[in-house]
């Protein structure tokens, strides 16, 4: 059977972000998949070098609108790592609360979009209806529905108003109830079951080989979670890391539903702690000394990694960002190949890819698939060598004369 090439994107009605998939099929079966990115590149790392540390936090917040607390979380970890800054206990609880509420809204968003992709729009409308009160809580706590601007080096920027606690508890109760209902409904629904079960399987070996992280890895039986492994703020909280064995889309969906319930429990523990833990919420840091720092955080999609090098001035010398989707997207090669084309889209969406997070750098590769940087380096060195020969044969340069004197 002859191969056929199906282009998908970059501006496709189904895809929210601009990305391009080149799917090769034989009949109905997907035999290979390639993708092209770069439409979302905005040059955060370079802009960050021109901003002060506090401004950088607001900048990295705008890497992604859906996980817009994860990037500041990892960035402040990196900045605090340079000087080992102590964080007040109240600030730690506020950070955890914001992070977990964001996980709830991000997972609900994914559940809805997954329902939309398989033609189950009822699921979409329902989950986004439950998501709305979460955004309203954010508006009450931080003043904005998205982009909360809560994080500072050494704590948080604004205090949590304890008067809001009675308003938040009913929303958490509602979410837990609805998620338990949804977990039951997904199991009982024969359409969802047959549409998702056994589709796009990512085995444990593949997950490890492709360095998958976050829910993608945990649904394949790999037990990793930065919140538990790194500790820091999350040492204050009791929670379970959910791991499921099968690695198909069904497990990824169930895992996210269970994680929402777990996040609700964490948010409740924070709410219980707020009246008891008073005092400072920001340990003011006036200077960041020269050095290097790394920060990690478990975003809704996986591990966010930030690296910051400081030269003692008020702005970072280098700010490197690695988003979870960067290592999750290559798992398409393992999970999409060999499945029918109709299942490819939900498998592509199952890792909850975020291209805005991922597109930090562009690599230029030449026609022979060799790295162009390497060739450029060779060309540059050859040119210097040639010039040296020319200069050696001719008159002495002014610099040579200075050294002779």
């Amino acid at each position: 059977m002859s191969k056929c090439r199906i282009p998908l994107g970059p501006f496709h009605p189904l895809l929210e972000e601009a990305e391009f998939f080149d799917i090769k099929v034989e009949g109905e079966k997907v035999v290979d998949i390639e993708m092209e990115t770069g439409w979302m590149h905005r040059g955060h790392e370079k802009i960050s070098e021109t901003r002060s540390y506090t401004q950088s936090i607001f900048l990295v917040e705008r890497i992604c609108g859906i996980c817009s607390t994860s990037h500041p979380f990892a960035a402040v970890h990196a900045m605090e790592d340079i000087d080992n800054v102590e964080i007040p206990e109240r600030a730690q609880y506020i950070r955890i609360f914001i992070g977990e509420m964001e996980r709830i809204h991000s997972h609900l968003l994914w559940l809805g979009l997954a329902g939309h992709f398989i033609g189950y729009d009822t699921l979409w409308m329902w989950t986004w209806k439950y998501r709305e009160p979460v955004l309203q809580i954010f508006e009450k706590v931080s003043g904005n529905r998205n982009h909360y601007a809560m994080f500072r080096v050494g704590g948080v920027g604004r205090d949590f108003d304890n008067a809001l606690i009675p308003e938040i508890h009913p929303v958490l109760d509602m979410l837990e109830k609805k998620m338990l209902m949804l977990a039951g409904a997904v199991k009982d629904d024969p359409v969802l079951w047959s549409r998702l079960k056994g589709v796009g399987v990512l085995t444990k070996e593949d997950a490890i080989n492709y360095c998958a992280n976050g829910p993608t890895a945990r649904a394949s039986g790999v037990d990793i979670d930065v919140r538990r492994d790194d500790g820091l703020e999350y040492d204050l909280i009791n929670f379970d890391v959910i791991v499921l064995p099968n690695g198909d889309v069904y497990d990824k969906l169930v895992l996210r539903v269970l994680e929402i319930i777990e996040s609700v429990k964490i948010a409740r523990q924070c709410l219980d702690a707020f009246p008891k833990v008073g005092g400072e919420y920001l340990n003011k840091v006036k200077h960041i000394s020269p050095g290097e720092g790394i920060g990690r955080y478990e975003a809704p999609r996986g591990e966010v990694f930030h690296y910051i090098r400081s030269d003692g001035s008020n702005r970072p010398l280098r700010h490197k960002v690695r988003a979870p989707s960067f290592s999750n997207i290559p798992t398409y090669k393992a999970s999409c190949v060999g499945i029918p084309l109709a299942d490819a889209l939900i498998t592509l969406a199952a890792v909850d890819p975020c291209y805005c997070c991922t597109e930090r750098s562009i690599r230029v590769i030449d026609e022979d698939n060799k790295k162009l940087e390497h060739n450029l380096l060779t060309m540059s060195r050859e040119k210097t060598a040639n010039l040296k020969k020319v200069v050696a044969g001719s008159e002495k340069t002014p610099i040579d004369r200075i050294f002779e004197d």
């Binding site: 501006f11 929210e16 021109t50 705008r62 609108g65 968003l109 986004w128």
Partner: protein
Amino acid sequence: MAFYNKIIKKSIWVFHVSASPCNNCDIEILDLITPGYDIERFGIKLVGSVRHADVLLVTGIVSYKVAPRIKQLYEQAAKPIFVIGIGTCTAGGATFKTGYNAAGMPLEKIIPVNAYVTGCPPKPEAMIDGVLKLLGTLK
């Protein structure tokens, strides 16, 4: 044209283009069609092709890779089409102003724009208000 203006107010079909945003305006636009806001009660509907659309919603700083495609999309659309820039990024580049990859700051450098709804991200109420205000100017 008067007849068209009378008709379009009753049913507005919207096409959404994400031109290197941070996803935030995009999810707020999607939020509009879910039960919380439900803009279909105004006759506003998201459509799958720009050829069917009356309004083009553009989000994000337009990067150099996206700019020619946005231009192409605008040319493909059936005229008259109204272009609304959603978010501060389209109006002035927001925090990416000093970056090296922002081609459209403001968006009218690339395609003609009828209205901007600013905010980072603008609230869904503000977006509804923006679209309805734009239609209010039609005679």
